[in-house]
């Protein structure tokens, strides 16, 4: 069986769009965000993704519904939930093996942002798949944070005052923590097991850079394969799901998963000392953030 591919990046790093494209390669099975790397067993996943965090289970439910029943409906999603509850003792490795059995000889591809919230999550994936490939996607910290705040505000109660970023919710801290986790983890990998690439670079010319990613992964770079990657909207998961599993990916992407090249080719990379619109104290990026951003090719 092919080794899986994990896209590791903080949320709001164009992971949905780029992950959606990679997931459409004919030799790849692009999964929704299955968010299982933080637990050892299915039971652990179910215990942690509940209550206000239950939305995190949507990707896995949609995946299993699709694989088991060929469609994602309220009924099939509920069946998937039952299936999971009956196998709470399964290890994550067993779960992955089951998914792999369902998709055949395609390489599993996951891009769950939860993976990078903790170093151990990535280490756990590596333990299960010692030869997995890790694609480290970066995006400029300022535009990442602006995107995060826009999404956060879109979910905020319109009747309440606009939320201010508390220190522990400051999107810059989230970006930096995730990147710290990723760089510490990837430093442990042998040469070739991880590829770091700027999302802005990929989106400036997707066929050119997706072909390079395919070359790294040993996937076909034939024109029909690259053309398929230009249509993330063809994924069965590139739409809003049934009520019990609405998302499993970026809601904005699910509402409009078609590539808009005219917009993507004008992505800006602001100066690292630019005004931070989510801060009301006039503060600038922390030196630690700037250090990482420059390492990734920003500023």
């Amino acid at each position: 069986m092919p080794e899986p591919i994990f896209l590791i990046a903080p949320g709001r790093s164009y992971t949905s769009l780029i992950g959606g494209m990679i997931g459409q390669h004919p030799q790849v099975y692009g999964m929704p965000e299955i968010s299982v790397s933080h637990a050892d067993t299915i039971g652990g996943v179910l215990q942690t993704l509940k209550g206000p965090l239950e939305y995190g289970l949507a990707g896995l439910l949609r995946l299993l519904a699709q694989l088991h029943d060929g469609e994602q409906t309220e009924e099939t999603v509920n069946a998937a939930r039952q299936w999971l509850m009956q196998r709470a003792h399964w290890s994550i490795a067993e779960l992955f093996a089951h998914i792999q059995d369902q998709v055949g000889d395609k390489a599993l591809f996951d891009k769950s942002p939860r993976t990078v919230t903790n170093y151990d999550n990535m280490a756990r994936l590596l333990q299960v798949f010692p030869n997995a490939s890790f694609l480290h996607l970066t995006r400029h910290p300022i535009t990442t944070c602006k995107s995060a705040m826009a999404l956060r505000n879109s979910f905020a109660d319109a009747n309440k005052p606009k939320r201010r970023a508390r220190i522990n919710l400051d999107p810059e801290n989230t970006w930096r923590r995730a990147q710290d986790n990723i760089t510490r983890f990837t430093a442990t990998l042998p040469p070739g097991q991880c590829l770091r690439v700027k999302a802005e670079m990929i989106l400036s010319d997707p066929p050119k850079y997706l072909a390079q990613i395919c070359e790294w992964l040993g996937l076909s770079t034939e024109p029909d394969a690259l053309e398929a990657m230009m249509h993330p909207e063809n994924s069965p998961y590139a739409s809003i799901g049934p009520p019990s599993a609405l998302y499993g990916n970026d809601p904005n992407f699910l509402k409009n998963p078609v590539l808009d090249m005219s917009r993507l080719q004008n992505i800006a990379e602001p100066s690292l000392d630019s005004h931070l619109p989510w801060r009301d104290d006039g503060g600038a990026l922390a030196p630690e953030t700037i250090r990482l951003a420059r390492q990734f090719g920003y500023g």
């Binding site: 670079m201 390079q212 250090r291 090719g297």
Partner: protein
């Protein structure tokens, strides 16, 4: 790789050849059947910390001093520059090394950073030119006979905020150089010049007036903070820059025309590895291609600009400007996916190899010497275990297949850098950077000092492989 005779290395100079503060065998040249060695005493804090040019006769296996910097009276400005330099070099952590005070005199130059044989218009025959490091302002020395050296560019005759000149390179009958380092009362930097520039002279014996700039400052891109290396290959002069924000750039020119040359940017953004390819540390032509070694200031981490830890890469540029990654990080680039052809990651798979510090061609093979800072890391942060590591020497006949010729400085852990190399009829000379005294000081907390290190003598070593 195809087998050939292994080089057997013997030590031909130890202990800084009479001055333990001379920790750096900085530059080499083969001139009039002698090895010429430019030495540096990086502290530059006393009259005895003098830059010297020493020469070795392989037949008699003897050294003699061809030049030692004269002592010049200090003044308030120079002492302020010295204070700034001490601060840059580590301040109180290093205070025990020389007991720095405010000396009434200092060696005019404390280092010889570059050596080059060149025949200018006024030279009766090829002469030996030397780029100096000096708090009074870097300069250039010239010698016709190899035993007497006179300044042809020096104190007070140019911008004396320039610490030194390096990369003395002959190209199409002219001599090129780049300023390196800054020496002012407000700023001391051993590497970054006040401005990234390249200068040329066709008659350096005529002094400062003979030199002219051949590029726009910073090549017109302010991210280029200094020119760190010059080299010549396949009809081009190459200039490698340093940038702590974006990573190095590599430029080249065919040198045609008068005035400013027309330059072509060959690599940018640290060859798309960004600022972890902090600088071009060394350049060397081999088998028709230009080999580019990267590096970062400091011990793998540039403290002043908060870059790193980073490990060095090796890149090959072909005559058409295309390039291969030989040793380094796999990555996507506008020029295609770059996979290290050696199948080795940065630093020849050793994260402590922070600089590809020297390169030369000897007997149809390319040699690369590294700076390897593992001993410093263990001294500062170790658990008391004995220090390990030391410079490495690597060799290749095709750029893709590499073999380690020397590991761990042949067992001398205090030898952390291979700074200079010279291929000669007598064999391959290696000039090292040796720091047992500094390692002993830095080991005070970790307790990593061994009897061997305690007995080790400070100062550079020169090896001859034959």
């Amino acid at each position: 790789m195809d087998g050939d005779t292994d080089l057997q290395f013997v030590s031909v100079a130890q202990g800084g050849l009479g001055h333990e503060g001379s920790t750096l065998a900085h530059a080499m040249a083969w001139f009039q059947d002698h090895l010429y060695l430019g030495t540096t005493a990086p502290r530059g804090a006393s009259p005895t910390d003098a830059g010297r040019i020493l020469r070795f006769d392989p037949k008699s296996e003897s050294w003699e001093t061809a030049h030692s910097a004269p002592v010049i009276e200090t003044n308030e400005e120079i002492l302020a520059r010295l204070d700034a330099q001490n601060e840059t070099l580590g301040g109180k952590d290093l205070a025990g090394l020389t007991g720095v005070t405010h000396p009434t005199g200092l060696a005019r130059e404390y280092g010889i950073r570059a050596l080059q044989i060149f025949k200018g218009k006024s030279d009766p025959h090829p002469c030996l030119y030397a780029g100096t490091m000096s708090l009074f302002g870097g300069g250039i020395l010239r010698s016709e006979d190899g035993v007497s050296f006179e300044p042809v560019l020096g104190t007070g005759r140019h911008d004396d905020s320039i610490l030194s000149f390096r990369g003395l390179v002959e190209f199409k009958g002219r001599l090129y150089t780049a300023p390196a380092g800054t020496a002012t009362r407000d700023k001391a930097d051993p590497n970054f010049a006040p401005e990234a520039m390249v200068y040329v002279s066709d008659d350096p014996a005529k002094g400062a007036e003979s030199w002219a700039p051949v590029c726009e400052p910073a090549f017109g891109d302010p991210v280029n903070r200094s020119v760190f290396a010059l080299g010549v290959a396949h009809g081009y002069l190459y200039a490698g820059t340093a940038s702590w924000t974006r990573g190095f750039q590599l430029w080249r020119t065919d040198g045609k025309g008068k005035g400013l040359h027309k330059w072509e940017r060959v690599l940018t953004d640290g060859a798309y590895r960004f600022n972890h390819n902090f600088s071009v540390a060394t350049l060397c032509a081999f088998d028709g291609d230009m080999y580019v070694g990267s590096g970062i200031s400091g011990l793998g981490y540039d403290k002043a600009h908060d870059v790193g830890p980073a490990t060095a890469e090796l890149i090959r540029v072909k005559p058409d400007g295309s390039w291969d990654l030989l040793v380094g990080d796999l990555r996507c680039t506008p020029d295609g996916l770059k996979v290290p052809l050696s199948a080795m990651g940065p630093g020849f798979d050793d994260p402590y190899n922070s600089v590809m510090w020297s390169m030369t061609v000897h007997e149809d093979a390319l040699y690369v010497g590294t700076q390897q800072w593992e001993p410093f890391d263990t001294a500062l942060h170790g658990d008391g275990s004995p220090l390990t590591g030391g410079y490495q020497l690597w060799r290749s006949r095709n750029g893709g297949d590499w073999e380690k010729v020397i590991d761990a400085a042949l067992g001398r852990v205090s030898a952390t850098g291979l700074r200079s190399m010279q291929s000669t009829p007598a064999g391959l000379f290696l000039g090292t950077s040796v720091h047992p005294k500094l390692l002993r000081i830095l080991s005070r907390k970790s307790g990593a000092v061994t009897p061997a290190l305690n007995a080790d003598k400070n100062g550079f070593e020169v090896l001859l492989g034959s």
